[in-house]
Chain length 330, copies 2
């Protein structure tokens, strides 16, 4: 049976997770968040966080577009971002490379220089890995970190009444990709955001003591709002005109004749942080000094996934903005 | 520059490790042993162990030869074996799969059933992973475990005067592969050892409190003896006629007209344990109930890598037995 016939990779993971033992007494949170939360024997006042992400040449990066150091940066940052989104402090990376027979030493060294630049920036070390041969270059990184239990930010921690907010601006990576695919000129800002996005560890460490749920935006805002709602059994109302867009993203929308909000909702790999916070902590939130935009509110209607358009019309906030159409009006 | 021109993958790893930060205060032992040894913030009386291994279709397993459950078993066991060889107790696996567009759901489920069987046997749970698409099926597993500091068995822990010993018998995986490559009949024992080798966690947990250095045999006995000697700055004398061989391995040597000891020295993926132990602990070693064979002795001549043949002749014990020739006599 084809994987796409059962509903794709999320459906496959659900089937696979039924086959395996996953509920040990050292597992606090297993499959289903940005990182696993573990409490290994011998660990008392902090939790261990573990996440793994694999980037395949051709699928996740194009060697014709991206410099090898950018590929290294992206592969490190997307893993460190998952630790950050849990409220954690990253500690070590383990880097597994599959290289082809004609991969040059210089190319691999440049990938490593990119990984090393991210490690130094975020205070992370490389403690191991594996190098092997295959027919497709593949970079698989596992990141470990730790978090204080009271700063752990799970997808399931959102509460009705929470404000829903996001750091930075959204859609740059998707807008850069869309322009590139149409052979349009891409600004250096959009290109850098697409090829070598940076995680917001700095902001995450400041937000963690204050916020409830937190997630990094790797699959687009709509998908991440759904993840928080599903895991927290809450609803959400998001106001389209409050979604922060960089001027270059707005310009990309104009050039490509699409609503630039699409890039934010359905794009991905912005690695900004989406979080919910109790309204009575907004003063504390402001004291963190982290720039954020309030997008909407968490509601107790657990089925509600509402995107309020600027003209007041309400449509359903689906995992993929491409799926929106008139029949989705609510 | 080609990777093979600089000396292959070990040389590449040495070059890469100079480019990256690897010496953090939470890293006890980084790159260079079976697993990394970490002391994360919040962990007091045990160390955390982390190892990662990637298996690529075509290179590390052949889908024409191995059933998917055997591929799952092999990929789990080789990782759990690395934790065992450090004296540790495995805790969790993180499984990253690269699947092709035509990989069937049933095939992936069988791989997972194999991984699950190994997990249940060894008391391990799967706490996360990643599934993505690419042109080559790749299974990358990261295993985590913990160890009591006084039971940690490093490659660098061998001492001059230690006995050198091994669990079980060696060469079965290599003999099975060699027969298969020559289209000879392969006994079910050899085939199982080649396609779905099992790690010796049971033995490792009993040996850890008693032995000094320990390593799992994944690249052949000669290579592993060299790893221990290099990291411990000691020498070794190994007696060829004490290397334990299964009768099917001896028979494979007869059929293929090669010395069956070659399979043990230069083969690989036996996943038996090579260890050194102080002579005054031999009584304690016997009390563990683990079957072992004494192969030789650790010496204080740090350059000594001596294989004593049955006729008394001494040759150099190189990383690869294929490299042996008359000019290597010492």
């Amino acid at each position: 049976m084809d994987i796409k016939n059962i509903g794709g990779e999320f459906a496959l993971i659900a089937r696979l997770s039924r086959l395996v033992p996953f509920d040990g007494n050292e597992v606090v949170v297993g499959i289903g968040d940005d990182a696993a939360v573990l409490k290994p024997q011998g660990m008392s006042d902090r939790y261990l966080l573990v996440t793994t992400d694999t980037l395949v040449a051709g699928s996740h990066f194009k060697t014709e577009w991206a410099r090898p150091d950018q590929i290294g940066i992206k592969s490190a940052e997307c893993n460190i971002s998952d630790i950050a989104a849990m409220g954690g402090r990253p500690m070590t990376l383990f880097v597994s490379l599959v290289l082809t027979r004609d991969t040059s030493v210089e190319w691999v060294e440049e990938v490593y220089r990119g990984i090393a630049a991210s490690c130094r920036k975020h205070g992370v070390v490389i403690a191991g890995g594996d190098t092997t041969h295959g027919s497709t270059v593949t970079i698989s990184i596992t990141a470990l970190g730790t978090v204080a239990p009271d700063e752990l930010c799970l997808r399931s921690h959102a509460r009705a009444g929470d404000l829903l907010a996001v750091t930075g601006t959204l859609g740059a990576s998707a807008a850069g990709l869309a322009l590139r695919l149409k052979d349009q000129t891409v600004s250096s800002y959009l290109m850098e955001q697409h090829l070598a996005p940076r995680c917001r560890l700095d902001a995450a460490l400041k937000l963690a003591p204050v916020v409830n749920a937190m997630i990094d935006i790797s699959d687009g805002l709509a998908s991440e709002v759904n993840h928080i709602c599903n895991r927290s059994r809450v609803g959400a109302r998001v106001y389209a005109d409050r979604i922060p867009l960089h001027p270059d993203v707005v310009e990309a929308g104009r050039l490509l004749a699409v609503d630039p909000v699409e890039f934010a909702l359905n794009g991905g790999e912005d690695f900004e942080l989406l979080f919910t916070v109790s309204p009575d902590k907004q003063a504390l939130l402001d004291q963190t000094g982290v720039n954020y935009h309030e997008l909407g509110v968490i509601t107790d209607a657990s089925d509600e996934r509402c995107l309020v358009l600027s003209e007041g019309k309400e449509i359903m906030l689906k995992g993929g903005y491409n799926h929106f159409n008139e029949t989705d009006s609510i």
